[in-house]
C-alpha cells in the first residue's frame, strides 16, 4: 500500500473505533438529536402554556369599599367596549372588598386597586373628574404581575375611551355626532407611522440565523471534537496502544493526519446533526412564530451549503488545535485540563465578535476563530466579498496547518510518548536540541503562522499611525516588518533551534548562470505579471488607491524608494520565505510541495486579493530559482530588480511607462505586442537557464 494511502487506513480504523464508543455517540447523536429538541420544545411549550394559562386566569382584585368596586367594574366594562383592542386581554377579574394587598406570595388576592378623584390645581375644567388609579401588585409573583399587566392594559383602554368620549362631547354640539366622531379620531391619532422593511424573507431568515448559528457552530464543533481528540491522542497513550502504532513504518505526519481528519469528521457530523436538529425543531414545531412574531424566521434550503461551508474550516481548525494540545498530554485527565483553556480561548473571540457592531474588516480578518464566526455571519446575510472569504479561509488553513505541525512535533516526542523518558524540558530547552541543517516543516509553518497576523497588524497599525507621512511610514515598515519580523525573528529562531544558517537561509554563492537567470527574470518578470494582472478582475478602488500612491511616490527621491520598496522587501521576504520557510517545507517528500506551499504563503502575506495570482506566480519563480541555485542571493537580486524597475519607471519616468503599457491610463489593460514579445522572450530565456541548472537535493 502506498504511503499516503495509509492515512486513509488510519482514518477508517480510527473512525470505526470512535463510532463504536458510547461516549462519542452520546455527544454526537443522542444530545443533538434527542435531547435538544426535547429540551427546547419542552421549555418553550411550558413557557407558552404557563403564559397563556396565566393570561386566561381569573384574578382576584381587592378594593377598599363597595363604591370603588363599582367604579372598577365600570372601568373594565368600558374598556371591554373597545372590542378590537380588548380582545387580546383575556383575563377576568373578580372584585372583592378588603383592606389591602396581602404580603404572602401564595395569597388568593393578586391585586389591590385604589381609585381616587384627583383634583387639579386651579379652576376645574368642564367634564368628568380626573381619576388616579393605583394598582398595587407583587413584582416577584408571576400571577400578580400578569394580573397587573392585564388590568393595566384595560385601564389604558379606559383612559383612551374617556379621552375620545370627552372630545366628542366637546365637538358634537357644533358638528353633529358623525363628524364629531371623525374629528375626534383625527385629533387623537393625527399621525400614523408604518414601517416597511426592504429585507426579503430570505434575508430576514439569514439575519435571524446569523445571530445564533455561528456561535452554535463553535460550541457544537467543540462539543463534538473534544472527546475524540483526547481519546485518539492522550487516550491512545494511556491505553498503551500508542507504542504499537509508533513502531509501524508510518511517518508521524500520516498518523496525525489520520487522527486529525477523524476528529474533524466527528466535529462536522456533530455540528451538522446539531444544526439540523435545531433547524428541524424550530421549523417543524412552529417555534418561529413564538420567537419572533414580526420577524418570521425562514430557513431556506439554499442556506444549508453555506452552513456546511462555514462548518468545515471551523471543524478543521478546532480539530488541529485540539489534536495539537492533546498530543502534549500523557493521560486523559491531563488532556482534559489542557482542553479547558483552549475552549475558553476560542469562545472569547467567538462571543465578542457576535456583537452587531463588529464587521469582517481590518484586523478581524485575521483573528483566529473570530474571523470564522464573522464570516459565517456575513455569509448568512449575503454581505461578504470573495476577498473576505479567501483571506479567512487561507488564514484559517495556515493556522490549522501550523497547529497540525505542532501536533506532529509533540506526538512523536519520547518525553510525551513514554512517561519514564524524562521531562518535557527536552522539547523546549536549547541545550537538548540537536543541531539540524534546516528547520522542520512544523517550525516553518509555525513561524509563518505567527508572523502572519503580526505582519498584518504592523502594516495596518503603521498605516493608521503614520498614514499622513508616507516617508516615515515606509521607513518604519522597512525597519519593523522587513528587518524585524522577516529577518531578525527567523534568525533568532534558527539560532535558538541550532539550525545551520547557511543551509537554512541558502547563504552560499550561486553559479554564474543563476545570477544571469536572475538578471533576465528580474528585468522581465513584470511582463507576465502585468499580463496576468490584466486577466484578473479589476478593482476600481484599488486602481484609484494605486494611482494616488504613485503620485505621492513620484514626489520622493528615487534612491529612497528603491531602498525602502525594492531592496528592503527583497532582502526581508527572501530571507523569510525562500530562506526559512522554503528550506523547512522542502524537508518532506515531493519536490514541488515545498515550492507551491511557499508561493501560496507568500501570496497570502500580501493581503491583496486582486494580486493573489500574480504574487503566487512570482513566488513560484523565486522559489524555483532558489531551489535550482541553492542560494537566496539570486532571488534577492530578482526581487529587488523587479520591484525597483517597476517603481522607478512608473513613478519617475511616466513617458516610458506609457510606452511600455504601464501608464495611468492603461492600468490593468493588456500589454502592447512590441513589449509583450521581447519581454516574454527574456523571461523564458531566464527560465531556460534555470532548467539547465542541476537542482540541489536537500541534505538529509
Amino acid at each position: 500500500m502506498k504511503q499516503p494511502l495509509r492515512v486513509w487506513s488510519i482514518y477508517r480504523k480510527e473512525l470505526l473505533e470512535i463510532l463504536r464508543d458510547r461516549r462519542t455517540l452520546t455527544a454526537m447523536v443522542v444530545i443533538p438529536v434527542v435531547l435538544y429538541p426535547v429540551l427546547m420544545l419542552g421549555f418553550i411549550r411550558v413557557a407558552e402554556t404557563e403564559q397563556s394559562w396565566l393570561s386566561t386566569q381569573r384574578f382576584v382584585v381587592q378594593v377598599e369599599d363597595a363604591d370603588q368596586a363599582r367604579r372598577l367594574g365600570e372601568i373594565i366594562e368600558t374598556a371591554r367596549a373597545r372590542r378590537e383592542e380588548a380582545e387580546a386581554i383575556r383575563a377576568t377579574f373578580d372584585i372583592r372588598v378588603g383592606a389591602s394587598l396581602p404580603d404572602a406570595a401564595d395569597a388568593q388576592v393578586q391585586l389591590f386597586v385604589r381609585i381616587a378623584e384627583s383634583q387639579p390645581a386651579g379652576p376645574s375644567p368642564p367634564g368628568p373628574p380626573r381619576l388616579l388609579i393605583t394598582i398595587v401588585y407583587n413584582e416577584v409573583d408571576a400571577r400578580s404581575r400578569t394580573a397587573m399587566e392585564q388590568l393595566g392594559r384595560l385601564a389604558d383602554l379606559y383612559r383612551r375611551e374617556c379621552t375620545r368620549r370627552s372630545l366628542e362631547d366637546l365637538i358634537r354640539p357644533e358638528a353633529g355626532p358623525q363628524a364629531a366622531a371623525d374629528f375626534a379620531r383625527v385629533i387623537l391619532e393625527p399621525v400614523e407611522v408604518r414601517f416597511v422593511s426592504t429585507a426579503t424573507e430570505r434575508q430576514r431568515g439569514g439575519w435571524a440565523l446569523a445571530q445564533f448559528i455561528p456561535i452554535v457552530l463553535v460550541l457544537m464543533t467543540i462539543t463534538g471534537s473534544v472527546y475524540p481528540a483526547i481519546d485518539l491522542t492522550a487516550g491512545e497513550r494511556e491505553r498503551g496502544t500508542l507504542e504499537t502504532l509508533m513502531v509501524t513504518p508510518v511517518p508521524t505526519l500520516y498518523i496525525i493526519l489520520g487522527k486529525f481528519l477523524v476528529v474533524a469528521t466527528v466535529g462536522i457530523l456533530t455540528a451538522v446533526l446539531n444544526v439540523a436538529s435545531v433547524g428541524a425543531t424550530i421549523h417543524l414545531s412552529g417555534l418561529t412564530r413564538t420567537f419572533a412574531e414580526d420577524m418570521p424566521i425562514q430557513i431556506p434550503l439554499s442556506a444549508l451549503p453555506v452552513i456546511v461551508l462555514c462548518m468545515i474550516p471551523f471543524a478543521l481548525l478546532f480539530a488541529a488545535i485540539l489534536v495539537a494540545v492533546c498530543s502534549f498530554a500523557r493521560t486523559f485527565k491531563e488532556a482534559q485540563n489542557y482542553v479547558m483553556p483552549v475552549i475558553l480561548g476560542a469562545l472569547v473571540p467567538a462571543m465578542v465578535v457576535t456583537l452587531p457592531s463588529f464587521r469582517l474588516t481590518g484586523g478581524l480578518l485575521v483573528l483566529p476563530v473570530g474571523n470564522m464566526v464573522l464570516l459565517a455571519r456575513e455569509l448568512f446575510q449575503q454581505t461578504c466579498t470573495p476577498f473576505q472569504v479567501l483571506i479567512v479561509l487561507l488564514t484559517t488553513t495556515l493556522y490549522a496547518a501550523a497547529a497540525l505541525g505542532v501536533a506532529v512535533r509533540l506526538f512523536g516526542q519520547e518525553a510525551v510518548v513514554f512517561s519514564d523518558a524524562g521531562s518535557y524540558r527536552a522539547l523546549f530547552q536549547r541545550r537538548y536540541f540537536r543541531p539540524r541543517p534546516r528547520p522542520t516543516r512544523t517550525a516553518a509553518l509555525m513561524l509563518a503562522a505567527v508572523l502572519f497576523p503580526l505582519s498584518f497588524y504592523a502594516n495596518t497599525g503603521l498605516h493608521t499611525l503614520l498614514g499622513q507621512d508616507l516617508t516615515r511610514m515606509l521607513a518604519w515598515l522597512a525597519a519593523l516588518q522587513f528587518a524585524g519580523l522577516f529577518v531578525l525573528v527567523p534568525l533568532a529562531v534558527a539560532a535558538y533551534c541550532k539550525l545551520d544558517l547557511t543551509e537554512t537561509f541558502g547563504l552560499r554563492l550561486p553559479p554564474a548562470r543563476a545570477w544571469l537567470a536572475a538578471l533576465l527574470l528580474g528585468a522581465s518578470c513584470w511582463v507576465p505579471a502585468a499580463q496576468l494582472a490584466a486577466w484578473m478582475p479589476a478593482n476600481e478602488a484599488m486602481i484609484e488607491a494605486g494611482r494616488r500612491l504613485q503620485q505621492e511616490l513620484a514626489a520622493r527621491p528615487l534612491w529612497m524608494l528603491v531602498l525602502l520598496l525594492a531592496v528592503a522587501p527583497a532582502v526581508g521576504e527572501e530571507w523569510l520565505f525562500r530562506g526559512f520557510v522554503l528550506s523547512g517545507l522542502s524537508t518532506g517528500p515531493g519536490r514541488w510541495t515545498g515550492i507551491l506551499a511557499t508561493a501560496a504563503i507568500f501570496a497570502v502575506y500580501h493581503f491583496a486579493f486582486e494580486r493573489l495570482a500574480v504574487t503566487f506566480g512570482i513566488g513560484l519563480v523565486l522559489a524555483w530559482l532558489v531551489r535550482q541555485s541553492g542560494s537566496i542571493l539570486p532571488a534577492v537580486l530578482l526581487h529587488a530588480l523587479h520591484n525597483g524597475l517597476l517603481l522607478g519607471v512608473v513613478t519617475h519616468a511616466p513617458a516610458l511607462a506609457r510606452r511600455l503599457g504601464l501608464g495611468d491610463d492603461t492600468t490593468a489593460a493588456h500589454l502592447p505586442a512590441h513589449v509583450l514579445a521581447p519581454g516574454m522572450a527574456c523571461f523564458l530565456a531566464g527560465l531556460a537557464l534555470l532548467i539547465g541548472l542541476r537542482p540541489r537535493r536537500p541534505a538529509t
Partner: protein, 261 residues
C-alpha cells in the same frame, strides 16, 4: 542482523543531572539466533529495545538493523522489525479480525497478502475461536496471542520482544515459547528481554546481562555459568547483579554453597 555499537541514552530530569539509562552498550544478534537481554528493573533493557525499534533516539553510539541505521533510516528499519512488549495495548473496540488487517495495511502489505497472512497466523497461534470478539473482551493469553500475530503480520526478519510471556498462564506460555523457537528455525533474529531466568536458560542462544545501563556480561548460557562458576543462571545472575556484586566477571566463581542452592 542486529548490531548495537557503543549505545548511550540519557534522559533529562526535572532536577539534577541527566539520567543515564544505557551506558556504552554493544552487542550483535545474528539470523536464526535468540539473544536474551537480562537484568534487574531499571537496568536499561526496555530503553535499548525502544531505541532499536525507533521509538527513542540514542544520545550517542549507533544501532543498525539489517545494515540500516535506526536513526537515519527509521522508516526502513521499522519495516524489518516485529515489536512486542508485555504492556502493549490492543484497540479495545476492534476484533482481531479487524485489527490484524489494519496493521497489515500500515506495514504496506496489499489487501490479499494481508488477509492471507492473518489466516496463517490465526492458524499457527490457535486464534480461530476469538477472531471476532472485540479485544476488550479477550483474556490475557488471547490478547498476547493477538499481539504476537500483530507483531508478525508483515513477517519481519527481526523480532524484538520485551518480556513476551509476562503474566501468562502455563499453557499460553508454552504456545508462545514454541512459536518463538519456530521463528528462530525460520532464520529470524530474535532479541528478547525477560525476567524469567529459567525461560532464558532454555530459550536463548546467547545472553547479555545489563546492570545500571552497562552490559556487564555476555555470551552463551553455558559460558556464563562457567565464568561465574554457578550451576544455574539464576545464581550467576545474582552473583553479578545482586547486593554486593563485584563488577563484571571480576567476581570469583560461585562457592560450593552457591552451587548447591
Amino acid at each position: 542482523m542486529i548490531e548495537v555499537i557503543d549505545l548511550v541514552k540519557t534522559f533529562p530530569t526535572t532536577s539534577g543531572p541527566e539520567k543515564r539509562a544505557v551506558d556504552h552498550v554493544s552487542f550483535r544478534v545474528g539470523c536464526g539466533e535468540i539473544y536474551g537481554l537480562l537484568g534487574p528493573n531499571g537496568a536499561g533493557k526496555t530503553t535499548t529495545l525502544r531505541i532499536l525499534s525507533g521509538l527513542l533516539r540514542p544520545t550517542a553510539g549507533s544501532a543498525r538493523i539489517g545494515g540500516l541505521d535506526v536513526v537515519e533510516q527509521t522508516d526502513r528499519t521499522k519495516r524489518l522489525i516485529g515489536f512486542l512488549t508485555a504492556n502493549t495495548g490492543l484497540y479495545q473496540r476492534l476484533s482481531p479480525r479487524e485489527l490484524l488487517p489494519y496493521f497489515a495495511d500500515l506495514h504496506g502489505l496489499d489487501r490479499a497478502t494481508g488477509l492471507r497472512r492473518v489466516e496463517e497466523l490465526c492458524g499457527w497461534l490457535g486464534m480461530e475461536s476469538f477472531m471476532d470478539i472485540r479485544c476488550g473482551a479477550l483474556s490475557t493469553g488471547q490478547r498476547q496471542r493477538t499481539n504476537i500475530a500483530r507483531a508478525l503480520i508483515a513477517d519481519p526478519p527481526v523480532l524484538i520482544m520485551d518480556e513476551p510471556t509476562l503474566g501468562l498462564d502455563v499453557l499460553t506460555n508454552r504456545v508462545i515459547l514454541e512459536f518463538i523457537r519456530h521463528q528462530r528455525r525460520q532464520g529470524k533474529a530474535i532479541l528478547l528481554s525477560t525476567h524469567y531466568l529459567d525461560e532464558a536458560e532454555t530459550l536463548c542462544d546467547r545472553i547479555g546481562l545489563l546492570h545500571e545501563g552497562r552490559l556487564i556480561a555476555e555470551g552463551p548460557v553455558d559460558r556464563l555459568r562457567e565464568q561465574t562458576g554457578c550451576a544455574r543462571l539464576t545464581d550467576a545472575f545474582l552473583r553479578l547483579v545482586g547486593p554486593g556484586a563485584a563488577p563484571a566477571l571480576a567476581a570469583g566463581p560461585c562457592g560450593p554453597e552457591d552451587a548447591g542452592r
